[in-house]
Symmetry: C2
């Protein structure tokens, strides 16, 4: 509702939250119709955008106004322009383009998982799918790999530093649930002596393979197809990457996996775990803490575990020491666990 | 993403918008499970809430943390409490409870209309339903009437003032698309000499009838079932209320309806139109301007019309003068048009 006084109770926030699914839908449509790229290229009125997007001028006017109201465009005398964020992240020509993330974040399955959230709360876990996210060759994770790679650059560089890539020594790295492969690929790019073993389902590994090809490091990446729970990981690794994986499972399954990782590592080897790690209060930092609800909606018993919970899982699995590192400017954290 | 510096480009807003459908789903679940009422009544931990809500303690912990992260609860040492807004608007015992609005705002049809928003933009109108919102006895509008009455108090009081209810003279009021009936009922309560004719579909008028009964004014409300476009409205009205109706139609149909209203009014009678009226820029005030997208998604050719557009429609339909009045603390405006 309209600008209530500060501290005066208002239904505005409640109303806006109950309708915020509409803002998701609008941004998704704007990305889908690629209006940010067309506006950057000079088609900056509804009349100019309509033929480019094969859309009705009326529809384009309403969508662009809505994007302006929500801060993704500016409007001056009927002409739209990009905001700094839109220019960097939503113009397809930008190297930091992240429009592709909309495909995964708002996919049918991602949305379906939230359709019956009351039921998921009642049950204490997902009500819409198999729930362990370990089905072989699930196309959902191909979509993830293709959509979300654009968001990994900062985390991947940060992890590559933690892996000591700058030292340029020969290292053998296991990238578990490699997905797009960008975490291992970044290490390989920074350290010409690094050998990467990428573990994931065969259909997902195709995406990692393409990305390794594009990065010119395909000859130093070995593919290890299968489930992290079942496949023989081999041994002698200097470093194991476990990225966005443990949150899908209960603590028992996490420990099962961590023990396998412990076995695969060299003495003095380390595992780098990229995760959403909330503080003990479980309400901060906001995005790490909020990730818990996504796990409630999407998995049987996954969670955003706290540092104390992870530290215990790694200790129980044989690791001597685990430390927590915030990824700069990102909502995630890295756990470094030493054998 | 986590707290980027001011003015530094960040994917945070884009990421949060692409996932804001999750916040809608969470608030809807919290209202559905009635956690705000239970917390107000003293069940303020996951362990205490679980049996009350028949939910898993784990699900309740994750939902309450998420509601805290998004500012609908506070948390201190594992104990949750309501915020001022939640206490007033989300506790079922509060007279200002608006949890019922979630039913309409997040109903299957409301959400389905946004499922294919790109297609609606391409077409320039809704792709999911008949689109004129004039189907007889549509249960969607019963849901609206039952859900949204709680949000009308401020607007209804404001309109009753504009209708001169305080003067206590005998007046005959036509309430078109009466819905829950609260606009006419409020006039009847303030002016014991007011007679109300409530026009809507028979199934919707049942809700208005119940509300008139509860308000003790049923004996001064006459029911006029049918479509505003087709039914004989009668004549001799001092005042006609047209609330949240014109935005569904194109300008031609609006004028058709306004001419009928003009005919029904006494000389010197006036029509009060409650609407979302954006400024000429169509991007402010934000909620009035944003309403345009809801009409794109839900109707063939409805819109949030500007004052200039409405003024013209009323002038073309025979009205001498139209003025614009902001409803205090609400996102809507009232047009007063004099015959």
């Amino acid at each position: 509702m309209a600008t209530p006084s500060i501290n005066r109770p208002s239904p505005e926030k409640i109303f806006n939250t109950l309708t915020s699914f509409q803002v998701t839908a609008a941004l998704r449509a704007a990305i889908d119709l690629d209006i940010f790229t067309f506006i950057a290229d000079g088609a900056n009125t509804p009349a100019a955008l309509a033929p480019k997007t094969k859309a009705a001028e009326r529809g384009m006017r309403i969508l662009c106004d809505y994007m302006t109201i929500h801060g993704f465009l500016t409007k001056d005398k009927g002409t739209y322009a990009l905001t700094p964020d839109s220019a960097i992240f939503l113009n397809r020509h930008s190297p930091a383009y992240m429009g592709s993330t909309a495909k995964f974040l708002t996919s049918d399955r991602s949305r379906a998982n939230f359709e019956n959230l009351s039921e998921a709360v009642r049950k204490g876990g997902t009500v819409t799918q198999e729930g362990t996210n370990t089905a072989p060759d699930d196309e959902f994770w191909v979509e993830f790999a293709r959509s979300m790679a654009s968001l990994t650059a900062i985390s991947a560089n940060f992890m590559a530093e933690l892996a000591g890539s700058g030292e340029g020594k020969p290292i053998k790295v296991l990238d578990i649930a490699a997905s797009h492969g960008m975490f291992g690929i970044t290490i390989a790019k920074k350290n010409p002596q690094a050998q990467i073993v990428a573990l994931d389902w065969p259909n997902v590994l195709k995406v990692a393979e393409e990305n390794a090809d594009a990065a010119g490091v395909r000859n130093r990446m070995t593919l290890l197809p299968g489930s992290a729970f079942d496949v023989d990981m081999g041994t002698g690794y200097d470093c194991v990457l476990v990225t966005n994986l443990l949150h899908h499972f209960d603590e028992g399954d996490c420990e099962k996996l961590i023990r396998k990782v412990h076995h695969a590592l060299k003495p003095n080897g380390k595992v780098l775990t990229l995760e959403f790690v909330p503080n003990e209060d479980r309400i901060s930092p906001p995005m790490a803490a909020a990730f818990s609800l996504i796990m409630l909606a999407n998995t049987n018993s996954g969670d955003a575990y706290t540092f104390a919970e992870y530290e215990k899982m790694f200790r129980n699995s044989g690791f001597a020491k685990t430390t927590l590192h915030q990824v700069p400017d990102m909502p995630q954290q890295v756990l470094v666990s030493e054998k």
